[in-house]
Symmetry: C2
Subunit: 208 residues, 2 copies
DNA sequence: GTAATATGTTGACGCTGTCAAGATCTATGA
DNA sequence: TCATAGATCTTGACAGCGTCAACATATTAC
């Protein structure tokens, strides 16, 4: 050790945990989960391959921590739409659908991590992730209930089932887009409008 | 080589390609794509680790071949519903939705392979797979068009967009189920009925 | 029957996640 | 102040993965 304290050559990193999450998020965005390796990540950050294990039990815990960041960002965005006083109920519903799909289209890898099987299959989500993810899911149920009370969505249907169906719809459209089954992102707006009309408008201006 | 022709000890397998697809499908069903390795597969079939490479260019080609089988089975099932003369249009639509979700719920790993990002992302589907997958997708568009003509679905909407939305809906519900975000399979029927009412019934018996 | 081809094998390479053991820095408390 | 405990980072090692190259053996074609 020649340099006493060159900032790059310190034995201890300082805030490795945060650096790992940040760099990993960036690598995720560029190349997807399937190309995110702990070794490349450690290399990028400038530490040895096993250093991350002092901050995350295993790779899954790192992925959950990244997803947490995503949910936090995501939840703020959702709430921002729902609490915007300048929008009426139908506009909120429209903004919600467009916002949801846009987020997925603009952050496909993060969306995949947040809502994909890598984390959720086989219950590998950490408690910490569940603590932020579950309330987000529930927030969607709450919005659905409100829209039912407002007459925007049919009040006759069970709220939980209806919110599963509405969420399923936009989730499914998002997945078709980001998984490359419908690669053409130029139709996003039209698809959103069609979904909207299926859920809302067809009930108001009855098809004759 | 002691035995002249013990059926287990032959140098050439006989129909390795078929055996690989069959065994791989079984392993897929049990453990998912993420746990399907060529080496374990070869071991199971009783050949060396590189033998599969004489029948498939790489792992992706094997996966595509498996998915082809899935699509073939799947397409027959779809057509069986659609061409059943004992069902009226609404019953067909209902059977289609229930059949779709049931297939996904009963064959989650195959469904994931057929409609997931492993194959479709980055255009890794083989031509052979596309030849069977694309017509299946188009068959859904055709059904949607017919249901529009029958008045079951709104004729005012663009057929392609509408079929993307209806497919998106059941695809999304299927994914939520098989990815473990909604693990509770006991609600499948209720979710299907809710989706059905959103698409069809709400338009007929207008919510008052 | 011999040559070409199809199909199988072993060896090797670089990549991966992760464990164990040891090195080095930081913080605690006597 | 200084030893020591704990946090953090390192190298070494291992098994598993997909895949390539080189070689062996069986089948097919002329």
């Amino acid at each position: 050790m020649k340099d006493k304290k060159s900032p790059k050559a310190r034995y201890h990193h300082g805030d490795l945990r945060t650096s790992l999450i940040l760099t990993a998020s960036s690598m995720l965005k560029d190349n997807g989960v399937e190309n995110l390796s702990l070794r490349k990540l450690a290399d990028q950050v400038g530490v040895s391959r096993t250093a991350p294990y002092h901050h995350f039990k295993d790779k899954n815990e790192l992925l959950c921590a990244i997803a947490e960041q995503g949910f936090s960002h995501w939840k703020r965005q959702l709430e921002g739409i729902y609490e915007n006083p300048d929008l009426n109920e139908e506009q909120k519903f429209r903004a919600f659908i467009h916002g949801y799909i846009s987020y997925a289209a603009q952050n496909p890898e993060m969306y995949d991590l947040m809502f994909g099987r890598t984390i959720w299959k086989q219950n590998s989500a950490t408690d910490s992730l569940k603590d932020i993810a579950y309330p987000t899911f529930q927030f969607q149920v709450k919005m659905t209930r409100d829209w039912q009370h407002n007459g925007l969505l049919p009040a006759s249907l069970d709220t939980l089932r209806l919110s599963q169906v509405t969420w399923g719809t936009i989730h499914g459209i998002a997945r078709l887009l980001i998984d490359g089954i419908y690669a053409d992102a130029s139709h996003i707006d039209e698809m959103c409008e069609t979904a909207l009309r299926v859920f809302v408008l067809n009930r108001l201006e009855v098809d004759k």
